[in-house]
């Protein structure tokens, strides 16, 4: 399967047809919900926060923010079709048509936290011959840093094409002044590996982020055997089951202790 990022610019790829198809797929709904829950799990936020969802699309990720902890969120996306689907679905968040690579158009200290689910890898692509990924990444992280309150937190799940893209993204985040690193879930399964960029703006201790816990255990195997039941579940049931599982499992990989071998698991 080819990567969407290399087929067309995002606002072209996420056309009206693709946006509807994307949003109505229960498989996608489940995956996006699960990754958003995981991002929230890592952020360990207080309830009732003001959150920005970057590349919010049709609101599959944002909806979770309203359900979990009564957060108020703003979503930004470059695809008018995705936002149109979000409007049709009457999502609770405010929506903005904007290109993250041109900067986050919010004043200093606007948000307590930022999430982005399956979007920031798009920054690594040059869609026109004037677009320079390096500059867009720098502009993105600089303005992101400013838009957060001091001590604000970021969780971006993304799909890097290769290690070079991981390095590129981590490097840009660091240059902008962020602290943090990378959490990789399901490391043993190359195809299903999930990358979460976890950042903090300003000096807070990593204790404020939920990175404690154990590695994948037997619960994980149990989850896979229940694949059959999964089909009949609503997204809500699915989310509840996932949350229950996560609680039992005691989370996944710790940031510092587990990450050795800089080449394969870059961090800063």
């Amino acid at each position: 399967m080819s990567r969407p990022e290399t087929t067309a610019p995002p606002e072209v790829f996420y056309s009206e047809t693709e946006s509807k198809k994307y949003t109505s797929s229960s498989r996608i709904q489940h995956i996006q919900a699960e990754m958003t829950l995981r991002a929230l799990d890592l952020l360990a936020l207080d309830p009732h926060q003001h959150i920005l969802d970057i590349g919010c699309g049709s609101g599959l990720s944002g909806e979770i923010l309203s359900q979990e902890g009564g957060h108020v969120w703003v979503g930004m996306d470059i695809s008018p079709s995705m936002l149109a689907v979000a409007l049709d679905r009457d999502v609770p968040g405010d929506l903005l048509l904007a290109d993250m690579g041109a900067g986050i158009p919010f004043r200093a200290g606007s948000f307590d936290a930022v999430i982005s689910i399956s979007a920031i890898q798009w920054l690594c692509n040059a869609d026109t011959n004037t677009a320079d990924p390096k500059r867009r990444l720098a502009r993105f992280f600089d303005t992101l840093y400013a838009a957060l309150r001091r001590g604000g937190k970021v969780a971006c799940q993304f799909y890097p094409r290769d290690d070079r893209q991981v390095e590129q993204i981590l490097g840009a985040a660091k240059t902008a002044g962020f602290a943090g690193g990378l959490v990789i879930d399901d490391e043993d399964k190359k195809k299903n590996r999930k990358y979460y960029l976890i950042l903090t703006a300003g000096n807070i201790t990593t204790n404020d982020i939920n990175l404690k816990g154990v590695k994948i255990d037997k619960q994980h195997a149990a989850r896979r055997t229940s694949k059959k039941n999964r089909k009949e579940e609503s997204t809500k049931e699915y989310i509840n089951r996932k949350k229950e599982l996560m609680r039992k499992r005691g989370k996944l990989v710790a940031l510092d202790s587990q990450f050795t071998g800089r080449k394969r698991r870059p961090k800063f």
Partner: protein, 136 residues
């Protein structure tokens, strides 16, 4: 776009973000093809959220925005609230909730005071995509 969000968005042009004029964006010039339209939309009341966000509302900017949208009724300074759950604070928190979360700008335009770029709002979504010559 909620009034809450209007109190946080600023001009996206790089040269503007270095100047204080990039915020707030102004509703003082509207056009005939996208006339200003406001609406009330019910949102579940959360006193805790209002309490949390209140210190970060730029009150002078909110006054400007409200005035440009035709509301001259706001107090001159940020209301002070010590306990969001105290009964005597409920009314003010509800008023703030209505103002910030339930007032939607359905369409209209916002102007940057520094570069004069107009950001249009349609279907309650502001368009922050910049034309090529403003992207740096």
């Amino acid at each position: 776009m909620k009034l809450l969000t209007a109190n946080f968005v600023q001009c996206s042009v790089k040269a503007c973000s270095a100047t204080p004029k990039c915020f707030p964006l102004h509703f003082d010039q509207q056009t005939a093809d996208v006339p200003l339209e406001l609406a009330h939309e019910d949102v579940d009341f959360s006193p805790e959220f209002i309490y949390n966000i209140l210190p970060r509302i730029d009150w002078p900017a909110l006054l400007i925005t409200a005035r440009e949208l035709g509301n001259n009724m706001l107090p001159e300074t940020t209301p002070e609230i010590e306990n969001p759950n105290a009964p005597e604070n409920e009314q003010i928190l509800r008023d703030l909730h209505t103002l910030l979360l339930e007032t939607q700008i359905i369409q209209g335009s916002m102007r940057c005071e520094n570069c004069n770029h107009i950001y249009f709002i349609r279907d309650s979504i502001p368009n922050f995509l910049l034309p090529g010559h403003l992207v740096q």
